[in-house]
Amino acid sequence: MAVTTGNIVSWIAALASTYGEQQSYLTELDAAIGDADHGSNMARGFAAARDDLQGDPPETPAAALKRVAMVLMKTVGGASGPLYGTFFLKAATTCPQANELNGDQLLEALAAGTEGVQQRGKAEVGDKTMVDALVPAVEALRESRTAGEEPAAMLAAAATAAEAGRDSTYPLVARKGRASYLGERSRDHLDPGATSTALLLAAARDHLAA
């Protein structure tokens, strides 16, 4: 019932497929309130991360997470590149020695990643960013773990919370990132980054604890 290095590799491979398939959808969301590149940014970055991991399989979860961080930083660019990069990097720092992650470690890693994103991007919940999906996901992980659940159940809760978080961005006025320039006109659109985050946690549910 722990998250293995192989789970992480599968997770990233699944994300590469997902973002490839959802590229136009994410880009359309970004076209509406941004600059129409979020889909290709995510697709490019996670395809590169998958290739990197599969080309030279990592030994530990921390190594895997760190490699993903480095590849995302180098291939994504934009706002989402450094933010998702930071997410994986900070997650990696929490478990330097672990060969697999138990529920506590999983929670700790994803919480640290989310804090990293908030530190870098200075966004709060309600600013209409990926933070709106990340923070409730971590809260759900924590509650679920507190209730004694294992990674599979924790991640299922987190994915559901991230989806709700994504949906919560719809009526919001953006206060961070490119959509903030739109002011009132950013209302009634899903945030692209919150949407890609929801996909990230859905894939985590399906592959991290498999």
Partner: protein
Amino acid sequence: MKKAINRPEDVVVEALRGMEAAHPDRLRVSYEPKFITRADAPVRGKVALVSGGGSGHEPLHGGFVGPGMLDAACPGEVFTSPTPDQVEAATRAVDGGQGALHIIKNYTGDVLNFETAADLCRAEGLEVEAVLVNDDVAVEDSLFTAGRRGVGTTVLLEKIAGAAAERGQDLATVASLARRVNEEGRSFGMAFTSCTVPSAGKPTFDLGPDEIELGIGIHGEPGRERTTNRPARELVEQMAETVLGDLPFAKGDRVIAMLNGMGGTPLLELYLLYGEFARLAADRGLLVERNLVGDYITSLEMQGFSLTLLRVDDAMVELWDDPVLTPGLRWGG
């Protein structure tokens, strides 16, 4: 989408190949990671100017690499800021021992990636300062946004700071001059049509046959207001008043003015617009010392234009007049 490209994912690297082929005597291109430097870089004893940003704004930034302007430019994917490794490698490649100034347009992505790059550079012992350009008056409320965007003033700043660096001024001096240019510069843009990001394959936004977008960003980000088209005279008046009122510019102020095309606007119209602006400037008692009319900071094939005004003093005008030898701006020397 009809574009003169092969695969969308190859656009940036293939355009770099063309730049390298077109300017073999003046530019050097690195592909892994991607950056452009002046052919004679590093220039010993000179502060290095490094900029970059998403592609699709050409000639900015790659077209402004050369003596008297930038030492290096880092192109990201279309409308996507470059990554830290590009900026770090470019900075290292052009460092002449006097440190480097990073010129960053104020977008979350650019800021974050350049921040990381500066950290990497400093970890290697390179001295790096940064200037943030945030001149777009279309972004009204900086408190509830990511702050004003960097647009047209970037071009003028790269020229003026580039001249100062070429004269041998030190990093602190060049950086503070650059910050002053940013403080004295204001811009406002509008669009008649959207651009199309190659990987998106369709226009970023739709405008009706008589609609325009005022306060557009250079990435096709929607602007301040969607409204109906109006005669050039009214458009220029409205945009110029917004720009003038913001600094505010006053009667007797000396300015450099840029009437910039977004990529798809005929030069004939840009001149017509500049004529409208010149008349208005004369009415307001503004002294236009120098001007640029043309495509300098674009948004792919977008039809539209922007107006940038920079308040200048003698020193800035002199630096403006210094020789510059780049694909996109060239005079003197």
